[in-house]
């Protein structure tokens, strides 16, 4: 239970910091300007550091962990997506992972079925819950462009319209808000409801979930219930987007809770499991074409060995060999 409570308390304390700071400390400028820029810098440099570090690691051979038939003789049917032989199909494999979580689709679950019988079954819930969580979060973040841009580009406008097409509540209800909350709840319960998962889960698994949950709950509360004045928010967001430093008009403390938790999230990404958002593109088992039979992969670490052929050896020792009565090839 400590693994669950610690991150929960951490998120609550983190949420209280800006609330106290703005309500009692009048630290608006710190939470509106200084901390967001600091978080942005930490995110950018941290990601750069992690990715450059990974990019510099040598990957001398391709790693064909595939689930399909490799390209072979013409009459053998190949599986070009599972076992791509060219970079284009390998890129498709990475993208299908990024957008559709294909590996997770293969997820299986082992269960004891009626006594001592271990049964493996296909288990799609994690795939579905993960997909719902990531897509709704992505759409929510893209929709936030309405704060940062003076005029919305048409694709984002369309996305926004589609998201509130149910046309219920004022302000219009966004479907992704409900989906995000439901998915986060499912992902937390998934870890809590099963003894195996409880042992496997660490506090660093719960913390991002609670953090996202808190950001979403505060955002949803700001939109539908407690409300904030959007005008100074928009002005602040546009200031941040244009790297300005002007002091914002007063905004409700709840907004700063939202913004500060987002800043914590941004700064946390490079140093946590959330860095997978960049790392997934570098997975060697996904992004390398499997052409190990078609192409010769030379080990770049082979030392530069000076080889000596038998002919050279005989040239050097021919006279001595003849004297000793050893047969030679060339007289």
């Amino acid at each position: 239970m400590k693994k669950v409570l610690k991150p929960l308390i951490a998120v609550i304390v983190l949420a209280l910091i800006p609330w106290l700071g703005v309500t009692y400390g009048k630290l608006d400028y710190v939470f509106a300007i200084i901390i967001p820029y600091a978080a942005g810098v930490i995110l950018a440099l941290g990601m750069l550091f992690r990715l450059v570090d990974w990019l510099r690691r040598p990957v001398p051979f391709n790693i064909p962990t595939t689930c399909g038939q490799e390209k072979s003789l013409d009459w053998v049917k190949t599986n070009t997506l599972e076992c791509p032989s060219n970079p284009f199909m390998a890129a498709l494999r990475v993208l299908s992972e990024v957008f559709l979580f294909r590996s997770l689709f293969r997820n299986t679950k082992a269960e004891m079925a009626g006594g001592p019988k271990l049964v493996y079954g296909s288990h799609k819930w994690l795939w579905l819950g993960g997909l719902a969580f990531h897509w709704s979060m992505l759409i929510i973040v893209i929709r936030h462009a309405r704060f940062f841009l003076a005029t919305l580009p048409v694709p984002i406008e369309l996305l926004d319209t589609a998201d509130r097409f149910l046309d219920v509540t004022v302000p219009a209800f966004y479907i992704t808000d409900a989906v995000a909350l439901a998915a986060i709840t499912f992902l937390v319960l998934r870890r809590l409801s099963d003894a195996k998962m409880r042992i496997l889960s660490l506090s660093t698994d719960y913390f991002p979930l609670f953090l996202f949950g808190a950001i979403a709950i505060v955002g949803i509360s700001m939109r539908y219930v407690t409300k904030v004045n959007i005008m100074p928010v928009k002005a602040l967001a546009m200031t941040l987007a244009s790297f300005g430093f002007s002091e914002p008009e007063p905004i409700g403390a709840l907004f700063y809770v939202h913004l500060f938790l987002v800043c914590v999230l941004l700064a946390y990404i490079p140093f946590s499991k959330l860095v997978h958002m960049g790392g997934i593109f570098l997975s060697p088992t996904r992004n390398l074409p499997n052409n190990s039979r078609a192409k010769w992969h030379k080990n770049p670490w082979n030392p530069d060995i000076k080889f000596r052929t038998y002919a050279e050896y005989e040239d050097e020792f021919r006279e001595k060999m003849k004297k000793a009565g050893i047969p030679v090839e060339k007289q």
């Binding site: 079954g121 296909s122 799609k124 309405r146 005029t151 004022v170 302000p171 409300k227 959007i230 928009k234």
Partner: protein, 140 residues
């Protein structure tokens, strides 16, 4: 049928129920509108004689509150007056107002851009003007 096909079927069924529910919700809206227009008691109660006076010298609530909450106020007013026939709003100071967009526009209608300035800036597209005349469309 394997498990995955079952799952797909369940998904499709859920989607169908969802679309159907949405369709009937929408259809229900249109139905209720015509019913009100013909012979509902609400329609009869709407132009109540001696309606609350429109005090157009000041706002119903403090500006700070209105900036953040005006859409909730208007939404509630619409519900109260159209669905429940309750057309009088009493603010904490005990002043009476007509629950009508006209109460707002009594002052704010003088600036044709009053609503649009902020809505444009904040990129929000309220559906008020789908039915109501906006200050921009009313001849000054």
């Amino acid at each position: 049928m394997n498990k995955f096909s079952k799952f797909l079927v369940a998904l499709a069924a859920g989607l169908a129920v969802f679309v159907a529910a949405w369709f009937f919700m929408q259809a229900g809206h249109y139905g209720s509108v015509s019913a009100h227009a013909e012979n509902s008691p609400v329609a009869a109660a709407a132009p109540a004689p001696g309606g609350a006076p429109i005090d157009s010298s000041k706002c119903i609530l403090p500006t700070e509150y209105m900036r953040a909450h005006h859409m909730q106020v208007l939404n509630k007013w619409r519900h109260d007056s159209v669905r429940e026939g309750n057309r009088t709003y009493v603010n904490p100071q005990g002043e009476h107002f007509d629950k009508s967009l006209n109460t707002c526009l009594g002052c704010h209608g003088s600036n044709p851009m009053f609503c649009f300035m902020c809505h444009e800036f904040a990129n929000v597209k309220p559906t008020c003007w789908d039915c109501h005349l906006s200050p921009m469309e009313v001849p000054q």
